[in-house]
């Protein structure tokens, strides 16, 4: 509970901090034209103020014990602790995906993303890998041939069907 409260303070603080940044950065927006019309700064000021006020209000609500209610969903087990390791692994897999797209092409990057995510969430590794490779190749072919949008083939460059 204590750590959740700290997290809430941090999140509220970040919202307020974004608001301060908005207010400060808004002063650097170039304004031209006549003085009697509302320029490009006014709305940013308002949004910045709203961010600061709601961020502080969220901190105040937390301090008064009104913690946010964590969202419920079908696949959520509310009785278990947060599994930070799994979250970190998924973020890592997503980072790997976006790095790999330019390096070795979309099909490989996509297979890594799917297999990595499914394995992280508890699938058998080889089964996840088989599904991932098939899925990535199918999507690549559909894009290259059917939709007229071609994903970078990377290492499969020049391969018929895979390179649109």
């Amino acid at each position: 509970m204590i750590s959740e409260k700290v997290e809430e303070y941090v999140f509220g603080g970040l919202v307020a901090a974004l608001g301060v940044f908005t207010l400060v950065d808004a002063t650097t927006i170039v304004v031209r034209g006549s003085a009697n019309t509302v320029g490009p700064r006014a709305f940013p000021y308002a949004v910045g103020a709203l961010l600061v006020v709601t961020g502080i209000a969220a901190i105040a609500a937390t301090a008064r014990g009104k913690l946010g209610e964590a969202e419920e969903a079908e696949d959520i087990d509310t009785h278990v602790r947060t599994d930070w390791l799994t979250v970190a692994k998924l973020v890592a897999v997503l980072v790997a995906h976006l790095v790999l797209i330019d390096a070795v092409g979309w099909p490989v990057a996509a297979a890594v993303l799917f297999a990595g995510a499914a394995w992280t969430l508890g699938a058998t590794w080889w089964r996840a890998l088989v599904v991932a490779v098939v899925l990535a190749l199918v999507v690549q072919v559909v894009f290259a041939s059917g939709l007229g949008l071609s994903l970078p083939a990377g290492i499969f460059e020049g391969v018929p069907l895979l390179d649109g």
């Binding site: 509302v38 490009p40 278990v80």
Partner: protein, 506 residues
């Protein structure tokens, strides 16, 4: 041309085999994403946006409308057969429907939900057909100040009146408004909050934000507390086609429709409120109130009808005023805009053929959905059982694909990841995500209307409130806020626990 003949023309278009296929694709996808936990209609429409650029707008919008209606049908199947409610609007269905399923009356619960959705969807679409052109005619006369007032109304209702924490709703709205600011100011061409990054000069794409906050945020959040082990589905049992079924269902269907539709049309935040009101009404009117909480069919029939009628009602302000009041509606506005079409009063004049084909496809989609969800419900039960590791891996893969396909730049994936992480923490701490998406899409529109008002008035701020229509809107808003605050203070905590579910996949 009267709207009836325009509608007939719409049917002539929508009934072409090609468009029928698009409608079928839309409703099938919609039901699938409604059934599957972790994906909602908003995210699905967002994901499909880049893939449908090659289609003509009518075809794409028919698909999106199908997804929108289909998601509503599919959600009820899940909440009846899994005891873990997903879509916020379906929570009360879960309450009664799930008890019915466990008592061996699952078939009746599914049937009353599907037929109720069909009845409500069809009546509500009729009401939409009758009302929309008239409202559009009236809306043409509204000025920028009036639109600004409507948008403020939408902001406040979506952010502050729904959900358990007004402060967190408003913070979410503010985050959305901020993201909407990033990019180049439309009126003066000045860049704002781009941090000198080229990718941000055109602003943050709506697709990236919607997919990030819904798909990536949801997947990370579910992963952090994943319910392990096989998916437990209640077996479908019992007969439904009985005299008792019809006699106990038809009145709740109709009542639900007439509760849901008006609530959907006013910017009071979509389906949640209507399902709770319908549930309360049925409980009060029932001759067997003691059955409620133990599997009363009226408690499924009414709220399901209300849910679907509200969904159709949301289309009224969406099509006639360009005003989205739910996250899905906001993404559909973005879809219109990506085709260079601005939903609003002029839609019925400028894009008449398209909008009537769209409305006609809603009637057709409802019939398709009845077939998909009544005789074919067994298929969706199978879909429901997809092992979760593969489901969420797939969601992440298609989220990344949909985002990458917008501009084919890796930078967008970085933005996706950042917004996904933000969405994850928002879910952990009870910040609803729908206001963020509505703020993102309505924010720039609101700014434009306010600035146009003040340009015309030469900077006189009173112009924002002196238009009679705007004044009425602000007065209504003030009353609603006060009433809501009073209700919030007075309501017993137990009731609040049931009623204040934050929207999940809307």
């Amino acid at each position: 041309m009267g709207s009836f003949s325009a509608l007939l023309d719409g049917f002539a278009t929508a009934a072409q085999p090609e468009y029928l296929l698009y409608a079928l694709l839309g409703v099938t996808l919609g039901t699938a994403v409604g059934v599957l936990p972790g994906i909602g209609p908003a995210m699905t429409v967002a994901l499909l946006l880049p893939l449908t650029y090659t289609l003509e707008p009518t075809a794409a919008l028919i698909i999106f409308a199908g997804i929108y209606y289909g998601g509503m049908y599919g959600g009820s199947t899940t909440s009846i057969l899994l005891n873990t409610p997903g879509e916020s609007a379906s929570i009360v269905t879960a309450l009664e429907g799930n008890r019915m399923a466990k008592a061996g009356r699952g078939a009746a619960a599914l049937a009353t939900a599907a037929i109720g959705s069909f009845v409500a969807g069809t009546i509500a679409t009729l009401l939409l057909t009758a009302l929309a052109p008239t409202i559009a005619d009236l809306a043409v006369q509204l000025g920028p100040a009036d639109y600004a007032a409507l948008m403020v109304l939408a902001f406040v209702t979506v952010a502050a009146l729904l959900g358990s924490s007004p402060v967190r709703g408003l913070a979410s709205l503010a985050l959305g408004l901020f993201i909407g600011l990033v990019g180049t100011d439309t009126l003066t061409g000045q860049s704002r909050f781009t941090l000198g990054v080229d990718t941000l000069a055109d602003g943050v794409d709506v697709v990236v934000v919607a997919v990030g906050v819904f798909a990536v945020g949801e997947a990370l959040y579910v992963a952090s507390r994943l319910r392990h082990g096989p998916v437990e589905v209640v077996p479908v049992g019992g007969k439904w086609f009985t005299r008792e079924f019809w006699s106990r269902s038809w009145k709740p269907w109709l009542r639900g429709t007439f509760i849901g539709f008006p609530i959907g049309t006013v910017p009071a935040g979509g389906a949640d409120v209507s399902t709770f009101l319908s549930y309360a009404a049925e409980k009060k009117l029932s001759k067997r109130p003691e059955e409620f909480g133990k599997g009363a069919i009226e408690g499924v029939a009414g709220p399901e009808a209300a849910n679907n009628a509200a969904a159709a009602g949301v289309l009224v302000p969406l099509l006639t005023l360009g005003l989205p009041t739910t996250a899905t509606a906001a993404v559909i506005v973005a879809a219109f805009q990506s085709y260079g079409i601005q939903p609003g009063p002029l839609l019925f004049t400028n894009n008449s053929a398209m909008v009537w084909a769209l409305i006609a496809s809603l009637y057709i989609g409802n019939v398709m959905l009845l077939v998909l969800n009544l005789p074919l419900v067994k298929i969706w039960v199978k879909v429901l059982q997809i092992p979760r590791p593969y489901l969420y891996a797939g969601i992440l893969l298609f989220a990344a694909l949909g985002t990458y396909a917008v501009n084919f730049v890796v930078d967008d994936l970085v933005v996706l990841l950042v917004i996904g992480v933000v969405g994850f923490f928002m879910r952990r701490h009870g910040y609803p995500v729908a206001p963020l998406v509505v703020g993102l899409i309505l924010g720039p529109m609101a700014e434009e209307q306010v600035r146009r008002t003040l340009q015309i008035s030469e900077g006189d701020l009173s112009a924002l409130v002196t238009s009679p229509f705007a004044a009425v809107v602000y007065a209504v808003l003030a009353v609603v806020v006060v009433v809501a605050a009073v209700v919030r203070v007075r309501r017993p905590k137990a009731a609040a626990a049931v009623e204040d579910k934050t929207p999940t996949a809307v």
